[in-house]
């Protein structure tokens, strides 16, 4: 649910990074935080356990330029990927404008990727959203690992609606901003069509 604030002349959108545990969702937004100027980013909040596993969410507000006199502000959230935190994942999807699915390219995590997409679909439905209509970008993370599944195989298993696909190595920042730009663009185009 986009929030258009005429008083502050700004538009606020919510983007959620979704995916299986330890897939690199937090690493994505940490990289965005590190590589963004102070004038365009807010505070990075991480509600994590002592072992740096996301407990509730990570949050990073980031601002792009203005469109038609309105500042464009995006709130980036990650969800906890671990299966048993489903209640928290559901809460964070409330009011979402766009979803980035961060898939783990390792062969051993393919089942977890598939299960997480199924879970995303289910949780979106509970909020009244249809994954087929929500702006959505797919990222294949950890492409540098020797056990990474070939891209065509990942596309066949995980791509659901012709969404843009990006290869990434989030620890080194590869593909991180391409993914972000793509989802921002999809959200804004979606806004235009409404």
């Amino acid at each position: 649910m986009t929030f258009i604030n005429y008083a502050a002349r700004e538009i606020n959108c919510k983007i959620v990074y979704y995916g299986p545990g330890l897939g690199g969702k937090t690493t994505n937004i940490q990289y965005v935080y590190e590589r963004t100027g102070n004038d365009t980013k807010g505070k990075l909040i991480s509600l994590a356990t002592e072992t740096d596993r996301t407990l509730f969410f990570d949050f990073l507000p980031i601002e792009f330029g203005a469109i038609r006199g309105f500042r464009t502000r995006f709130h980036l959230y990650t969800v906890p990927g671990q299966v048993f935190y489903d209640a928290s994942r559901k809460l964070i999807l409330k009011g979402v404008d766009g979803v980035v699915f961060v898939a783990d390219s390792q062969e051993i995590r393919m089942d977890a990727n598939v299960e997480s997409i199924r879970n995303l679909n289910e949780n979106l439905k509970e909020h009244g959203y249809d994954l087929a209509k929500v702006p959505y970008v797919l990222q294949f993370n950890k492409r540098d690992l020797p056990t990474a599944v070939p891209v065509p195989q990942m596309v066949a298993a995980l791509r659901i609606k012709n969404e843009p696909v990006f290869e990434a190595v989030a620890t080194r920042g590869l593909g991180v901003f391409d993914t972000l730009k793509s989802i921002v663009k999809s959200v804004l185009l979606h806004l235009r069509s409404r």
């Binding site: 649910m1 258009i4 538009i11 909020h127």
Partner: protein
């Protein structure tokens, strides 16, 4: 999407701020802060000092969402009030009209009883304004509202320019 965008006009913002100002004075509070349930900051009265409003909004919304989840888990519809007591400052948080969250930050110069009393009146006033805002946002989505979104005619070039 299933949910209409929330559109806040300057006039709405002015009405909300007027209610918040009155509440802050009547409750002797340091800060009164209104946000929507998705964590978007709507309006405030008082001094933020070093508090980042965006962080405050997202953490408060997360707090309320988690508490809602707890309520449902034990079979309650909702916990309508949250109270956090600190050594110096306290937070009183309550849901307004099912769509927004009102946060009051106060210290020893006020009391929980006074804040609760004043919040009750202000909540009714805020709910009336927010109902108007939501109704208009819904009407806009359904196409009954004259003002078109400023984003209806953005071009691909406008979007690309954001990243240049």
């Amino acid at each position: 999407m299933a949910v209409a965008d929330l559109v806040l006009l300057e006039a709405d913002h002015g009405r909300l701020v007027a209610v918040l100002e009155r509440l802050r004075q009547d409750a002797n509070a340091k800060l009164v802060f209104l946000l929507d349930k998705n964590g978007q900051h709507l309006a405030l009265s008082g001094d933020l000092d070093a508090i980042d409003p965006t962080s405050l909004a997202s953490l408060t919304a997360g707090n309320v969402a988690a508490t809602d989840g707890l309520a449902k888990l034990i079979g309650e519809r909702e916990f309508s009030i949250l109270f956090h007591e600190g050594e110096r400052d306290n937070l009183h948080i309550n849901v307004v009209a099912g769509t927004a969250i009102l946060l009051v930050l106060f210290d020893l110069r006020s009391s929980l009883g006074l804040v609760r009393l004043r919040v009750k009146k202000a909540t009714a006033d805020l709910a009336a304004i927010l109902d108007d805002v939501v109704a208009r946002s819904e009407a806009r989505r359904a196409g009954f509202f004259g003002a078109r979104s400023p984003f209806a005619e953005i071009t691909d070039e406008d979007i690309d320019a954001l990243f240049s």
